[in-house]
């Protein structure tokens, strides 16, 4: 198979060896879950339960807070014990609903079972996906029902499933592809039917040859779906990079979307969630999360309920063999360093990684040398150092010209920076300020 890729990028050591051979394991039912009301892109969900109320697994506890927002569900059976500000997996805090159960009872709301899932009408499919609260499981958490309802003037011809998992350490999607290939393919077919696409693709990086084989076997009878082998290169799983590698189409910059060029991308985990929502009307209340790191006693891929605390997941893996210096929620390139393990996992939590002192060591920061390494690797062809230097000097004009608004914060620039500049942090500051200036400009005109 000829491997496809995108321009730029880097190749960090993938560290997937720790957890890639650990089959998906069901996490014990937690005694308590904390469901953040904003675990997706868009407006926070609005609670529809009160403290003290008894809830069943899968029962709606919050409704969408706007058009781009999601429905939220109780992920265990129990009593609503608190609606308050709780730690968030991004390292911040947010409003969340706490449900306390007994760790045993798991009483679900009524489910359906469509034997012939493809015969469900598109409207019902969309409805079920919306009610199930599915959002992008790759990390960003964009509400799936919104992505599946493109405006009438955009015709979609291709759906790409993202099985790239280019973030080092993470193996959740990999295990999912090995163990639930057929469900993923059905999920893809459902998405294709909903958006009316004729072509389906599944993009997988070449460092997962067995996943490529399994998925190829799963689609061997289907003429309209193919598996695309991709070169091992970060950020291959970036939406725009994946689309370019698979179809040679590029998403317009300055706010363009995949649907502008007829493409919808979904994570493989999202495809399974779509399948379960359409077939069983099952709410998105669990996901696979990789607990890994050199110092973790038993790295695992756990299928856990949304809202399970990081501490419980960590304990399940037998703790750490050495002193922990840094904990990352998500992948090491774009994930968040979190101060402690009190936060719960959310729908976008793909990993929980533990680093020792040596792995977390940071070298001293120099001034920018203008070496241009960041320019060479930037997958969006920007000048990252100019954006970050612009932010340091509050020169927002320079930051904008160097492409601040097109940056997706993949961290490739900071990864290679010999001066160890925290470029993503500076670019973030630039994005906020440049965004403000652009909005003011638009208001004036």
């Amino acid at each position: 198979m000829k491997l496809k890729t995108f321009p730029g990028g880097v190749h960090p050591h993938d560290h997937k060896e720790y957890s890639k051979n650990a089959p998906i394991e069901k996490m014990d039912l937690p005694l308590k879950v904390v469901i953040p009301l904003s675990q997706h892109i868009g407006a926070p969900s609005k609670p529809v339960v009160k403290v003290g109320e008894q809830v069943k697994t899968g029962q709606i506890i919050a409704e969408p807070g706007g058009f781009v927002s999601i429905t939220q569900h109780a992920s265990i059976t129990g009593k609503v014990t608190k609606i308050a500000e709780f730690p968030h997996p991004c390292g911040t805090t947010s409003m969340a609903i706490e449900i306390t159960g007994d760790g045993q009872t798991d009483e679900w709301i009524e489910l359906t079972n469509e034997e012939d899932v493809m015969s469900v009408s598109v409207d019902v499919m969309k409805d079920r996906i919306k009610i199930a609260g599915v959002c992008g499981m790759g990390g960003a958490g964009f509400p799936t029902h919104v992505k599946l309802s493109p405006p009438a003037d955009k015709s979609i011809d291709t759906v790409i499933l993202n099985g790239v998992e280019c973030e080092p350490y993470l193996t959740a999607d990999y295990r999912l592809m090995l163990e639930r290939a057929d469900d993923i393919v059905t999920g893809l077919q459902l998405v294709m039917k909903i958006v009316g696409a004729k072509r389906g693709m599944i993009g997988i990086e070449a460092n997962k040859p067995d996943a490529i084989k399994v998925m190829q076997k799963a689609v061997s009878q289907l003429k309209d779906i193919s598996v695309v082998g991709l070169k091992v290169r970060y950020p291959q799983g970036g939406e725009k990079q994946l689309i370019y590698a698979a179809t040679k189409r590029s998403v317009p910059n300055k706010g363009g979307l995949p649907m502008d060029i007829g493409v919808v991308v979904q994570n493989v985990g999202t495809a399974v969630a779509v399948y379960e929502a359409v077939r069983y009307s099952k709410a998105c209340i669990e996901r696979i999360i990789t607990i890994s790191g050199k110092i973790v006693t038993n790295p695992k891929n756990l299928q856990a309920r949304i809202g399970t605390s990081f501490q419980a997941l960590f304990d399940k893996c037998g703790g750490a063999k050495e002193e922990i210096a840094k904990v990352i929620s998500g992948g090491p390139m774009m994930g968040f360093a979190i101060p402690d393990l009190t936060a719960p996992m959310a729908k976008g939590s793909s990993g929980l990684l533990f680093l020792n002192k040596k792995e977390a060591k940071m070298d001293i920061e120099y001034t920018c040398l203008h070496c241009g390494r960041c320019v060479d690797v930037c997958p969006h062809n920007l000048i990252p150092s100019m954006i970050s230097n612009g932010a340091m000097n509050e020169d927002w004009d320079m930051a904008e010209k160097a492409g601040a608004m097109d940056c997706m914060k993949c961290g490739t620039c900071a990864y290679v920076c010999p001066a160890q500049i925290k470029m993503v942090q500076w670019i973030d500051i630039a994005k906020i300020n440049v965004g403000k200036i652009i909005r003011e400009r638009q208001q004036k005109s």
Binding site: P7, G8, P12, P168, K240, Y244, S250, V251, P252, N253, K254, G255, G256, D260, I324, A325, K326, I328, P332, M333, M334, G335, F336, A337, I338, P339, D340, L355, A360, D363, I364, Y366, T367, L369, H370, C371, G372, R373, D376, P379, H380, N381, L382, I383, S385, M386, K401, D406, K409, G411, A414, Y415, V416, P418, A419, Q420, K422, V424, Q425, D428
Partner: protein
């Protein structure tokens, strides 16, 4: 609340390249050239280099102490500056010349602007320009001839007249080339000797001497072979990238092929460009100085324009300028153009424009 774990912005992984790693790799790549210089010019080349490096490191240390900023002399950048400055002097220079040069390079060339990363031009080249302007006779004459060869590298000529043989025994290859451009000088030679000497410059024996280092020159430029070893190391380690050196050298090749000849003595020759690559500081400059991160463009296309600019200026100075060698000035001048080049060659963001 107190953080239990370290919190920082993503990414939480980093490749192994650090500033000091880069600097020390370049220092390593410059070692073969020093060995060659000691071999051809004697141990004084090593002593001068040590003076230069020690002076650079001490200056950096004292200024950083005085400025109350972190002392970073162990990162190798001051070592590198001292090394490159001394490499621009000949092995017969007095001991204090590299010392003064290094102090100037670090203090005026680098720290005045705020230290590493902020200097507009290459500090070592700036210091060389300062030394040439201040002590022209010490820097541009008194060169040492190689242990077992001719100053000019021309070993294929015998039985020349006095004036011509003095020329090939006391002048460096580029000095010879420059002298031959002076029609008064040439008319003072016996008939046909000018053409003989000119053609001998790119005789295969001369080119071999130039390649291995059996010629007169400054410490760092003596052996093309040693410099190419260094280049191979840097490219292998991905410290430098091919664009600047290649566009620089190819420009010199093209221009010297068309314009390197001298009327009446010799015109187009495929060997002339080889002479221009191997002689003088072209390789040292193209590989080690034009590629200095701080003072070269960040964009890929910018690097090519930068290299072409360096090449054009080098050839212009060599063929029509007042000095026999133009590499260092051409790089200095192009250094000043870098911000403009970066601005003009800003890459187009991936994805193109949005359809209206």
């Amino acid at each position: 609340m107190e953080n239990k774990f370290k919190v920082s912005a993503a990414p939480h992984l980093h490749d192994k390249t650090t500033v000091s790693n880069v600097m020390w790799q370049v220092v390593i790549a410059l070692v073969p050239a020093l060995i060659a210089a000691v071999y051809f010019y004697g141990i004084n080349a090593l002593f001068l280099t040590i003076y230069g490096v020690v002076a650079a490191v001490l200056t950096e240390y004292l200024i950083q102490k005085w400025r109350k900023v972190p002392v970073t002399v162990s990162d190798g950048s001051a070592v590198l500056t001292g090394l490159l400055l001394t490499y621009n002097l000949h092995a017969g220079a007095p001991w204090w010349l590299p010392v003064v040069g290094s102090v100037f390079a670090i203090a005026i060339g680098k720290q005045v602007f705020g230290g590493l990363g902020n200097n507009p031009v290459n500090p070592a080249l700036l210091a060389r320009a300062f030394l040439v302007a201040s002590w022209p006779t010490l820097t541009l004459s008194g060169w040492i001839k190689p242990n077992s060869g001719m100053m000019s590298g021309i070993t294929c000529l015998q039985g020349l007249g006095d004036k011509a043989s003095t020329l090939i025994t006391s002048a460096t290859p580029l000095d010879v080339a420059k002298k031959l451009r002076d029609s008064d000088f040439v008319s003072g030679l016996a008939s046909g000797e000018g053409a003989k000497v000119f053609n001998a410059l790119f005789d295969s024996s001369t080119l071999q001497n130039l390649f291995w280092g059996n010629v007169g020159g400054v410490i760092g430029e003596v052996s093309a072979f040693a410099l190419l070893l260094g280049a191979a190391w840097l490219i292998h380690k991905k410290i430098i990238e091919w664009r600047i050196p290649v566009s620089f050298i190819l420009t010199v090749v093209a221009l010297s092929f068309f314009f390197g000849g001298i009327k009446g003595l010799g015109q187009f020759s495929l060997l002339l460009p080889i002479f221009h690559i191997l002689s003088g500081g072209l390789l040292l400059g193209a590989i080690f100085m034009a590629t200095d991160y701080v003072t070269s463009p960040m964009t890929r296309t910018g690097r090519i324009y930068f290299g072409i600019g360096c090449g054009v200026l080098t050839v212009v100075i060599r063929l029509v300028g007042g000095y026999p060698e133009g590499v260092s000035y051409s790089i200095l001048l192009m250094n000043l153009a870098v911000p403009l080049i970066d601005k003009w060659t800003m890459p187009k963001p991936f994805g193109g424009r949005k359809k209206k």
